[in-house]
């Protein structure tokens, strides 16, 4: 075997991005065709962007248009690059950074809602407590028998997180969440 030495340099010049990372919500209107979601998420994984939340479904059936809502995290320059890269994808019609739109209108965030289902298995006092708290969070009981509830709760991500945290010690066994759906405030179409 040859002598072992310390690893030296390489050919690339790395510059640290000193910007502060922020969460932004992107709304992407796309042709609903096979592979379109793979193109979008492939771009994110291929270029090393984060996905915090992802929601997609067809929203305009006649035109076969789907809306993809992605919450991502990055510095200003990364977020701008993300938008431009998304716009290069052929079936992408438009990309809107809803967080930027909200900031321009004087709000911290766009309107964001999530739906979650929580399965809670409990009896006795715990069961009553779960029901009381669900009522306080305006959660609906959508399935139940004598040993369990399934709650449906809608709201901002922070509210969902809080509800899950509260239910955790009360017999929470399963959670399902839709991810964030978001829209800009006001009458304008973004």
């Amino acid at each position: 075997m040859n002598e072992v030495v310390a690893p030296p340099a390489s050919a690339y010049f790395i510059v640290k991005d000193n910007g502060t990372p922020e969460n932004h919500t992107l709304s992407i209107l796309v042709d609903n065709e096979p592979g379109v979601l793979a193109r979008v998420i492939g771009l994110f994984s291929g270029r090393g962007y984060n996905i915090e939340s992802l929601t997609v479904t067809e929203t305009e059936h006649e035109k076969h248009l789907s809306r993809i809502t992605i919450v991502s995290n990055g510095t200003h320059s990364v977020l701008e690059q993300m938008r431009h890269q998304l716009e290069r994808i052929v079936p992408v019609h438009s990309v809107t950074d809803l967080t930027v739109v909200a900031h321009a209108k004087g709000y911290e965030k766009p309107l964001e809602r999530e739906l979650a289902m929580l399965k809670v298995v409990a009896t006795g006092e715990q069961r009553l407590e779960a029901l009381r708290l669900a009522d306080a969070f305006k959660a609906q009981v959508i399935d139940a028998n004598v040993t369990h509830f399934i709650f449906e709760v809608t709201g901002r991500t922070s509210k969902i997180e809080q509800f899950i945290a509260i239910m955790a010690p009360l017999g929470l066994v399963e959670v399902c969440r839709t991810g964030v759906a978001a829209m800009a405030r006001g009458p304008g179409i973004e």
Partner: protein, 599 residues
């Protein structure tokens, strides 16, 4: 042609016939491909017609690179036809190469019948999945009714905006199925695809205003000028003439401004000239025209042209501010933007800062006097730089229109430095991806498009072995491509980096078993030549150029020559390593601990 379109529009035909008709309707004359089970119906159609010539390659990667060379030398889309599975996966390197260098390719792949997709059938692979990140767009056509639209759309997307490769995956049952053919006009319907051509006039105005105030300007042009078409190169030349700005270019942009031009600084970047890199570093206004601030160009980003205002013209919005923050970003086609720029410059009777510019030119002349491309040619060993210069002279003597392709490595940089490029579209090299094996098949593609021209692949002894099998293609079609190998019995660039960065530990970079290239050429039915004597080089080069068929020229050069000038890792443009300073000591310490710490 129009009569044909009318005749076939609305006619019933098979999917395979539609492929051929769509190729005709999109002006295709040559395609590069390799048959196999899943494209047999299309090959059967090819057999029964004469409008489109099929060039049978020996490896699908070769088809891809040949189509790239064809595209780059003609400005048209290159077309590839391959079978499913391995046929498709073998094209991946060429597709990514075309994506990174913005070359329009339309690659048609066969696929197993739709009913078998997903069953791990023989020669099945997820072609659209595999090629999704290495194409501008791709399609799996599941119904013959979609086929004409997709094929026309494929050409439109490949050739418009920032050009790039596309893949159309056609299952075998769709090739057999009958459907109604429609002409190219239906492809216009896709509304989500809006390539930008025009540009924001206000931004062009501010750019012109900034240029008029520049005291130390430099134009840095790239492959985007070539892709924009001949007009863009003409306009670029006019702009340089009007403004008297000095101009440098990336590897991809060579030829847009002539190497013999008065304001030419030579190539810039890692192996660029001293004057080009110093001008970039010291400039006060930089005009980037169709280049993308690649890491081989910028060197250390935080020390890149630190005192300059930057203008960036690019057709792709994502290129602006991607690597380097610019002051004025102009999104649009180079030809369009340059035309507006020139019109404004003339209309407003803009004048450059004559006095300041004179000083700037004088400063540049001093840098040029440094003669950063100097080398020592002795009478016993051929220096690689000398070989390229003699090759250039020989090609000039021949009076033939000359196209140069290259592989990747030292020879590529020497070709870029020492061969003078006067015209756009005459230089084909793998810039972004750096694909060894690109040059020879690309030369085959160029020669298919330009039968009478002199087409030379400047190669290295390692690179050429990656796509050597295409010699069989060249011989079959009588394509007199010349392979000029700078044989130093090493992977020269790898060896150079090992010398600079890895304590000269030459791990696997010595070519232990180089074939006898003369015998190899003869085995293929081509001509082999060998030269290791500087005194006979010129005569032998003339023989090579005058030979009727393809030639492999084994040119033995100094084994351990390094490619200089060079910006070492972690350094800025003004910290270049010049050939006369590159003593063993300087090379050993060229990269400081900080540079070595870079990933």
């Amino acid at each position: 042609m129009n009569a044909k379109k009318r005749d076939f529009d609305g006619m019933e035909m098979t999917g395979a016939a539609m492929v051929l008709q769509a190729l005709r309707d999109n002006g295709v004359e040559h395609i590069f491909g390799y048959p196999g089970g899943a494209v047999l119906p299309i090959y059967d159609e090819l057999f029964q017609q004469d409008d489109i010539q099929h060039i049978l390659v020996r490896h699908e990667q070769g088809a891809g690179h040949a189509a790239e060379g064809y595209a780059r030398s003609t400005g048209k889309a290159g077309v590839v036809l391959v079978t499913s599975g391995p046929g498709a996966t073998n094209t991946v390197t060429a597709l990514q190469d075309a994506l990174m260098d913005s070359i329009p390719l339309v690659c048609i792949t066969g696929q197993v019948p739709t009913s078998l997709i997903g069953s791990d059938a023989f020669q099945e692979c997820d072609t659209v999945g595999i090629t999704r990140p290495c194409t501008k767009h791709n399609w799996l056509v599941k119904s013959v009714d979609d086929l004409p639209r997709v094929l026309h759309e494929a050409f439109r997307i490949a050739t418009t905006g920032r050009p790039g490769p596309v893949v159309v995956d056609v299952p075998k049952d769709v090739q057999f199925a009958l459907g109604i053919y429609q002409g190219p006009k239906i492809a216009e319907s896709r509304i989500s695809y809006k390539p930008k051509v025009g540009a924001n006039l206000e931004q062009i105005k501010s750019a012109v205003a900034l240029m008029a105030k520049a005291k130390k300007p430099v134009i840095y042009s790239g492959g985007g000028v070539i892709n924009s078409g001949d007009k863009a190169s003409e306009l670029l030349r006019e702009l340089v003439k009007e403004t008297e700005f000095p101009i440098t270019s990336t590897l991809m942009g060579l030829g847009a401004y002539p190497a013999s031009g008065e304001r030419w600084l030579g190539m810039l970047g890692m192996h660029g000239t001293y004057e080009a890199n110093m001008a970039m570093h010291d400039c006060d206004v930089m005009v980037n025209i169709g280049a993308r601030f690649d890491d081989r160009i910028t060197g250390r980003i935080d020390a890149f042209a630190p005192d300059s205002k930057k203008i960036h013209i690019d057709i792709d919005p994502s290129s602006i501010n991607k690597i380097v923050h610019v002051d004025i970003g102009v999104v649009g086609d180079v030809a369009y933007v340059l035309e507006q720029m020139l019109a404004l410059w003339k209309k407003e009777k803009k004048k450059h800062q004559a006095k300041a510019l004179k000083d700037w030119h004088a400063q540049i002349a001093k840098w040029q006097a440094r003669n950063s491309l100097a080398y020592n040619q002795t009478s016993d060993v051929i220096m690689p730089q000398h070989a390229i210069e003699r090759l250039y002279e020989a090609s000039q003597r021949s009076g033939k229109e000359t196209f140069i392709t290259t592989e990747v490595g030292q020879h590529q940089m020497w070709a870029a430095q020492y061969f003078g490029f006067e015209k756009p579209n005459h230089w084909m090299t793998s810039g972004g991806l750096g694909t060894m094996g690109y040059g020879f098949p690309a030369a085959v593609g160029v020669q298919v498009a330009h039968r009478e021209a002199l087409v030379i692949d400047i190669a290295g002894d390692a690179s050429i072995q990656m796509m050597m099998q295409e010699m069989s293609t060249a011989v079959q079609y009588g394509l007199p491509v010349k392979i000029f190998i700078l044989n130093n019995q090493h992977m020269g660039m790898v060896r150079q980096w090992q010398q600079l960065l890895h304590g000269n530990r030459l791990s696997s970079s010595y070519s232990e078993a180089v074939p006898d290239f003369v015998k190899l050429a003869e085995a293929y039915g081509a001509t082999g030549m060998y030269c290791d004597d500087p005194n006979t080089l010129d005569d032998m080069l003339d023989d090579m150029i005058n030979a009727e068929g393809p030639v492999i020229f084994d040119c033995r050069v100094a084994n351990l020559a390094n490619c200089f000038p060079m910006i070492p890792s972690g350094k800025a443009h003004n910290e270049m390593l010049l050939p006369d300073e590159a003593s063993d000591d300087a090379i050993a310490t060229a990269i400081d601990s900080k540079g070595k710490a870079l990933v």
